[in-house]
């Protein structure tokens, strides 16, 4: 102690922020959760991004499968195939998931969902209950495959002349179109190098007042899935998909949006996972989506 600056935190202050978990179980709070409880929670809060079987929607991370692929040309790195410790899963879900509502899960919920993700990876049975006591005992398949950095692993020479035979050089060109140069030469001031195909969305002047009222909610709660169509969500502006669904009747759509449902193509979480939203706000957002996709 040199400068005596700062103050002493209370135990409560430290406890509130001290959330880290270690492989030996240090940091785990009391609690437990079963695979069965986990399935319910996972389907509601996780499956829209990570897939019902942990297979990952679109570019969202895959959580299960891939065991035995690490030496493949296209290895599949998941919790089951790659992660060395189960503690990491508990720690990460607890600190960062679900993506849109970090640190919203109770400790028991984290135990349950962790158990279920382990189950999806065939690392525990369907009757497994994960607890503060047994987590550190779980051995992950890939645990022994990690070793400390042993670089430098390559040794180049500082050759100055006759370093190679120029006639043997083959030039491999880049795949055109991935980051087209015209996006950063002239008028590319939006910061996006690669424009994905745009969906033709309606002008706001073509929308009803109720639909417009739903725009903000859409952007807050629905955009994450419905802009890109992840988790089987019908894409905004996709007339075909929306016409199909509208045949169920507007009230059914609103009902599904309010209370969630599991369809053939994916899962819609209740209120898009944002349960603090009023029913009216969600209804407006459905208006917005339907009108935008007519």
């Amino acid at each position: 102690e040199v400068y005596s600056i700062g103050s002493t935190p209370t135990d409560a202050e430290i406890k509130g922020w001290d959330i880290d978990i270690r492989p030996d179980g240090l940091g785990l709070p009391p609690g437990q959760g079963s695979v069965e409880e986990g399935e319910f929670l996972y389907d509601e809060k996780c499956a829209s991004c990570h897939g019902v079987f942990g297979e990952g929607e679109k570019r969202w991370p895959k959580l299960a499968g891939g065991q035995g692929t690490l030496t493949n040309d296209r290895p599949d790195k998941t919790v089951g195939s790659y992660w060395p410790y189960a503690s990491t899963l508990w720690d990460y879900i607890h600190r960062a998931m679900p993506f849109t509502a970090p640190q919203s899960l109770s400790d028991d919920e984290v135990y349950a969902i962790t158990a279920y993700v382990l189950y999806l990876n065939e690392l525990v049975e369907d009757d497994f209950v994960l607890t503060q006591q047994n987590l550190a005992d779980i051995t992950m398949p890939n645990v022994d495959s990690f070793y400390r950095d042993d670089r430098p692993d390559v040794n180049n020479e500082r050759c100055m002349s006759n370093c190679k035979d120029v006639s043997t050089i083959t030039v491999v060109h880049s795949l055109r179109g991935v980051t087209p140069t015209d996006h950063f030469k002239e008028d590319g001031n939006d910061g996006v190098a690669y424009a994905e195909e745009e969906v033709a969305v309606k002008e706001s002047s073509e929308l009803s007042a109720q639909a417009l009222a739903g725009l903000e909610t859409y952007q807050l709660a629905c955009r994450a899935c419905h802009d890109s169509g992840i988790a089987g969500a019908p894409k905004l502006g996709d007339v075909e998909q929306w016409t199909l669904r509208s045949t169920k009747g507007f009230d059914t759509l609103v009902n599904n949006a309010l209370f969630g449902f599991k369809g053939e193509q994916g899962v819609m979480p209740a209120k898009g996972g944002q349960t603090q939203l009023s029913d009216q706000a969600v209804t407006d957002a459905v208006h917005y989506m339907v009108e935008s996709s007519e």
Partner: protein, 399 residues
């Protein structure tokens, strides 16, 4: 000296060219504090960070690249420093932010931001690089410009407190061998830092290029581990816990480990090894005229100072030393320059840096032979630009 090519901008009309009095000379401009916080010229509107949407699921956990082709010297201006984060940029009120240090210490402490500024401060110019820089090109060239092949590196003057100063305040117990650093963002991003680094050159940083840290860079405070993977320099820092073992959190197991061809993986690959790239010419900076040009670029090494850079114009058959210029600082971008009279012949331009440890930047072939194509991170191999007869420049790989 006579021009070797027509002055193409002449085509724009000559109302502002000599002998005329330009419009901006015959009128008044904007007065002071028209921009109390100034911005670049409107003619530089394309000097911006850019992202590549297909790389990530969502821009909230993504990356944007620095426009290296537009940058000069070794300082990256704050508005153009590359971005990488896992849950978006939090908007933190500094008055309501705290740093807690606890764990295996004699005296846990909690600090306000004002209190941190009372400690002795240091200012150091250091690069910051994402270990995924260049990682899209292990299997072949994919990106069509320097901004995307190398844009996950920036270099700033950072000001803050040495972590060792704060560790002395809390009094690390003898068993304390690791530090867990944790952010206050939605990812509560965390990494384990060994005590040797923490006591060596790790900083708690609150300012960047003179002013307060930018939100994208961790406002109000961040960790800075000079020379190491950018993700270890935890942003929006809220907590440091001292422990006896590493934590093996998601960002040091699932991510930021390097899968080798034998199916095993390297862990804790902290250091950004010696690297370099030619920034002019490059795909965004083609040569418009024949004659003399400055071939320019920068080199950097997480192990210390750059010792030398060589340039090849023939794809690596012959090399010539390219003098370093400006400041040559440890773990900072270092500029090199090579004057070349171009007669219009096609070129394969490469740069190859060597750092003070004697390590020489490897070829991609060497890296691939050792690491295969799936290690994602730490691709620091010699880069090739192809210059065509018309002066246009392309990203290529040689095999």
């Amino acid at each position: 000296g006579a021009s070797v090519a027509a002055l193409s901008p002449m085509a724009l009309g000559n109302a502002n060219l000599p002998p005329n009095v330009p419009s901006w000379t015959s009128s008044l401009g904007e007065g002071v504090v028209s921009n109390p916080y100034g911005m670049p010229s409107k003619y530089e509107a394309d000097t911006i960070r850019r992202t590549v949407p297909w790389l990530t699921a969502d821009p909230i956990s993504s990356i944007s690249f620095s426009p290296l082709h537009k940058l000069k010297g070794i300082i990256t201006p704050n508005g153009l420093v590359f971005e990488r984060y896992h849950a978006g940029v939090p908007t933190i009120n500094p008055d309501e932010h705290r740093l807690i240090i606890h764990g295996l210490v004699e005296r846990p402490l909690i600090f306000t931001m004002d209190q941190l500024r009372r400690f002795p401060s240091v200012s150091e110019i250091k690069f910051l690089e994402c270990p995924a820089n260049g990682g899209m090109e292990w299997r072949g060239p994919q990106m069509e410009g320097l901004q995307f092949t190398h844009g996950m590196v920036s270099c700033c003057e950072w000001t803050g407190v040495k972590l060792s100063t704060l560790l002395e305040e809390v009094g690390v117990k003898p068993e304390g061998k690791w530090v867990l650093a944790e952010g206050a963002d939605g990812a509560a991003m965390s990494r384990s830092i060994p005590m040797e680094k923490a006591l060596d050159d790790t900083l708690i940083v609150y300012a960047q290029n003179g002013e307060a840290l930018r939100p994208e860079q961790g406002y109000p405070i961040r960790l800075l581990n000079p020379g190491w993977e950018g993700n270890t320099s935890i942003k929006w820092l809220r907590r440091l816990e001292i422990g006896d073992k590493p934590w093996y959190h998601r960002e040091e197991t699932s991510k930021y480990t390097d899968l080798m061809p034998d199916g095993r993986s390297r862990e804790f690959t902290w250091v950004q090894e010696c690297n370099s790239v030619v920034t002019s010419p490059c795909p965004e900076n083609p040569w418009m005229e024949k004659g003399w040009h400055e071939i320019e670029g920068f080199a950097w090494s997480g192990h210390g100072k750059i010792k030398a850079v060589d340039v090849s114009l023939d794809g690596g058959a012959t090399w010539q030393n390219a003098p370093l210029k400006g400041l040559v600082l440890s773990k900072a971008l270092t500029r090199f320059s090579f004057m070349f009279k171009w007669d219009g012949q096609p070129l394969l331009i490469q740069s190859r840096a060597m750092d003070e440890t004697g390590y020489v930047q490897p070829t991609l072939k060497q890296l691939r032979a050792e690491r295969g194509g799936n290690s994602i991170y730490h691709k620091n191999s010699i880069h090739t630009w192809q210059v065509k007869e018309d002066g246009s420049v392309f990203n290529v790989q040689l095999s």
